[in-house]
């Protein structure tokens, strides 16, 4: 596309863009903010529905015949799992985890998740961890039970796959709290709506990767199976599914990670568990305790991940003999009976350790000694970037100018389709009355993305060049991705101040993870021949990096930046909990006050921003990709 437009017209087109923008600015300079013509068009009926369901849930057949029984069923499953886990002596769960994992992976590997499972008990969080563990088991089970068949169906039927894909895209871009309100309406309060919200948020990876896994099974294997007279069902269950299992399991572990991200926030729905514990300890400013609680979430992640991998091994020859397994089963039953008979069920309190309390002193030290640095950074970001840019977008520049620029940029980058898409999304956001709040949030998102990219790309390049650096960063990145951001966002308020900065800092910490990983991948995948060729022509290291590695890795790095943007958007709601204002606060407020109509509008605005940025960055990545003959 670039080639078709020669230089002079290209310059002329941008000049035209600026001229139109200036013209619009002059014409609309004194106009008010975007006319919110549809401010109540959607929110009022939704509010009416909310009010209707409050009285209807006890009488209407939709509730009494469907949602309420469904809710009761899931509630019963949650209660059962939880009460069984709390009824058996505490050591039975780690022992059972050990047996399941050791069965396929050997006993050394089995000891790791078993020991990790003991950790929450050691820091005095046994019961709340079991709460969350039960919620995770049920949600992930439902997600897998729905996701694998859906993925198989998609793999077998292209039309089904095509219709599922946009829904999955939407599910992944919509910030999870947007689901919270409908869940509250349909299932009431507590752990049941939390379960369904978690399932929706965590479903996409398992569906996608199941479809991918089945598609990747070599056709020869399927043909061979059919040649031996296997039915379609037999081919699926005996050949395709087992061969696709590694890919499906990757999807399941991603689903587990997504689910963990949401069970903590589900405290807004009354789900209790570790999320509630984190919120309470942070209100008491016990940062160390909050950190310890966050690690309990990480512990659940490790245990579920290892359990999933262990269960997925199908190579029967490597399994221990029946006698050993029967022995292990008897041992567990024996231990249970022994524990129950001697009255051991709860985790012994005497074992509780308080290893994280020094963190509290660290927070106080930073508060008292590094204020010049943290507050200086805060005021720099707020006074020199956030406030001027926000005011520029919401007050100085007239809204038609922004519409024009957005559409024009969309057209230049992604053609007419992207232009039309961006324009219609922007107009819709304006019409429902979310224009200024969206621009405010966009300003914060841009600040977070700039900082994230400034950190992630250099670090990613370094890690891509140096395997030792990458190995060192691995566990740190894992921890950043699994520790609930609530744990570090409240100390961020103490260091910076209530406002946009704690949210930006938390978004950066969360978003640099995929940024670093994908950049490192891109750098590593640059073909060795290209680099050798460059060196042959006498290029210096610096020249090789700037002239060969970075350009060749650019499409992958752009995909990483795309992920960074999506992660930052996922954190918008968190920033609303610490003074970020705009859409984040509106989302928090809608959930906390069960304000369905506003919740819908905020959700739509966040999704619109996400989709515009997603498609624009994807289009940029496409254009960076070297075309044959380029």
């Amino acid at each position: 596309m670039i080639e078709r437009v020669s230089r002079a017209p290209k310059w002329g087109i941008w000049a035209l863009c600026v001229a139109v923008a200036v013209g619009l600015q002059v014409a609309f300079a004194s106009s008010e903010s975007f006319p919110a013509g549809l401010d109540h068009t959607f929110s009022d009926p939704i509010d009416d529905f909310g009010r209707w369901q409050q009285s209807a849930r006890r009488t209407n057949v939709l509730f009494t015949g469907f949602f309420t029984p469904l809710s009761d069923m899931v509630g019963w499953a949650l209660d059962t799992v939880e009460s069984v886990l709390l009824w058996v002596p505490w050591y039975v769960l780690p022992a059972a985890i050990f047996v399941v994992v050791a069965r396929t992976k050997g006993w050394v590997v089995g000891l790791i998740p078993a020991a990790v499972m003991v950790y929450p008990g050691l820091v005095g969080l046994w019961e709340v961890t079991i709460d969350t563990f039960a919620l995770m088991i049920i949600s992930v089970s439902i997600a897998v039970a729905l996701g694998v068949p859906l993925g198989v169906w998609g793999a077998l039927n292209t039309r089904v796959e095509k219709s599922i894909r946009p829904v999955l895209d939407a599910m992944q871009t919509v910030p999870a709290p947007v689901y919270f309100l409908p869940m509250l309406m349909l299932f009431g309060i507590g752990r049941v709506p939390a379960t369904f919200a978690t399932v929706i948020y965590a479903l996409p990876p398992v569906v996608r990767l199941t479809t991918l896994g089945i598609r990747e099974v070599p056709p020869a294997a399927v043909e061979a199976s059919e040649m031996f007279g296997a039915t379609k069902r037999q081919t699926m269950t005996r050949v395709q599914l087992p061969m696709a299992l590694p890919t499906i399991m990757t999807g399941v572990s991603q689903t587990i990670m997504m689910a963990l991200g949401i069970v903590v926030l589900a405290t807004l729905l009354g789900a209790g568990g570790l999320g509630q514990e984190i919120m309470e300890t942070l209100s008491q400013r016990r940062t160390g305790r909050g950190f310890a609680t966050g690690l309990a979430v990480v512990a659940i992640a490790i245990v579920l991940d290892r359990l999933g991998r262990a269960l997925a091994v199908t190579d029967r020859s490597k399994l221990p003999g029946r006698k050993v397994m029967a022995g292990a089963a008897v041992a567990i039953v024996g231990l249970t009976v022994f524990g129950l008979a001697s009255g051991i069920t709860e985790f012994p309190e005497v074992w509780s350790v308080k290893i994280f309390d020094p963190i509290d002193n660290g927070v106080v030290w930073i508060r008292d000694n590094l204020r010049w640095l943290t507050r200086g950074f805060n005021d720099l970001v707020v006074a020199d970037f956030y406030v001027p840019v926000r005011d520029l977008l919401t007050e100085t520049i007239a809204w038609p100018v922004l519409l024009w620029i957005g559409t024009f940029v969309g057209w230049r980058i992604g053609g007419v389709r992207l232009a039309v898409f961006s324009l219609s999304m922007m107009v819709a956001v304006g019409l429902i009355g979310m224009w200024n709040q969206s621009l405010d949030t966009l300003t914060q998102v841009v600040a977070a993305v700039i900082l994230s990219v400034a950190i992630a790309v250099p670090v990613g390049v370094w890690a891509g060049r140096n395997p030792r650096v990458e190995a060192f960063l691995g566990p740190i990145l894992d921890a950043l991705q699994t520790i609930p951001s609530l744990v570090y966002i409240i100390p961020a308020v103490i260091f910076f101040t209530v406002g946009v900065v704690p949210g930006i800092v938390a978004s950066v910490l969360y978003a640099i993870v995929p940024g670093i990983r994908i950049t490192a991948l891109g750098i590593r995948e640059v073909p060795a021949e290209s680099i050798e060729a460059a060196q042959l022509f006498g290029a210096t290291r610096r020249q090789t990096m700037l002239g060969v590695r970075l350009p060749l890795a650019a499409p992958t790095i752009m995909a990483g930046i795309n992920q960074v943007i999506m992660m930052v958007l996922a954190m918008v709601i968190i920033s609303g909990l610490v003074g970020g204002g705009a859409l984040g606060f509106a989302a928090v407020s809608a959930v906390k006050r069960s304000d369905l109509g506003i919740g819908f509008e905020v959700g739509f605005a966040i999704v619109a921003i996400a989709m515009i940025l997603d498609r624009t960055t994807a289009a940029v990545a496409d254009r960076l990709r070297p075309v044959a003959g380029h």
Partner: protein, 322 residues
Amino acid sequence: MKRLLAVLLAFALCAAACGGDDDDSSASSGASDDKPTISFVVNPWTASALNVQVAAQLVESELGYPTDIITIDENEAMFTGLADGTVDAVLEIWPSGITETEQSFFDDGSVVNIGDLGAVGKIGWFVPQYVLDQRPEMASWEGLTTADAGAYFATAETGDRGRFLGTDPSYSQYDALLIDNLDLPFDVQFSGSEAATVAELDSRAAAGEPVLMYWWTPTAAVGKYDLVNVSLPAFTPECGASGAAADADVACDYPEDPIFKAVSAGLADKAPDVQAFLEAFTITNADQLEMLPAAEIDGEDVADVAAAWIEAHADVWSAWVS
């Protein structure tokens, strides 16, 4: 693979041996199987958690019902839950926060007001004492009207206007209206959560920086940070303020809130003795202030703090269970 068994057994023996001295409190709770579970709502502030802990522990130990505690914001979803019986009781409703829709649950009888808790809350504007040491005139709203007063509380985000620190959006509040109607040079910045408000207060107080914020009594923070309630024009029923349904022209202080208790309409049939107990259940400001510092400042577990209160006040609660 025999090692697998050996490890398992060793692990179990160690666990059993070390865990043998565990108390069997779960067995002694006296909860019998045939009694239904009583679900209490806790709202996300400490006093609410303490009240519910005292009630729930007594319902378990004295009346023999199993209990369950659900934390949720004070919003319409909570009332919906009470109305359909998902939860049975809430012990700390602030009358100033009742919205029109929420009132409808009382009107149609699905949620029942079972009387005052005993504690009287007061929402208001608060500053730390060190602010008044520097600017004594700020003890009253009249001292906040000048541009200079705004600049004193300004932050990077509010520029030359003062920053008023708003709160969790589910709490009842109309500070932005008050600021407008009293024509004060302030902007409301919502902290978004109580955790963020407390973190901000802690950080400001440590450096002696000024802060003007939404807060309420009874709370331990008032004592810990030496917070003073800024006086606003006195509350009168006529000045237009009725909590969440505040008129746009409200220009007076928050009213005193006689906190009350409410239960699901179904509780009277489900567990009449629990209903009677909750009707008699009383926690005063003095009781709350006795428990709050341990939980909010020393960071003790609310269940332990409540248990200590129960231990010390058998004379008070024995009347509720008879």
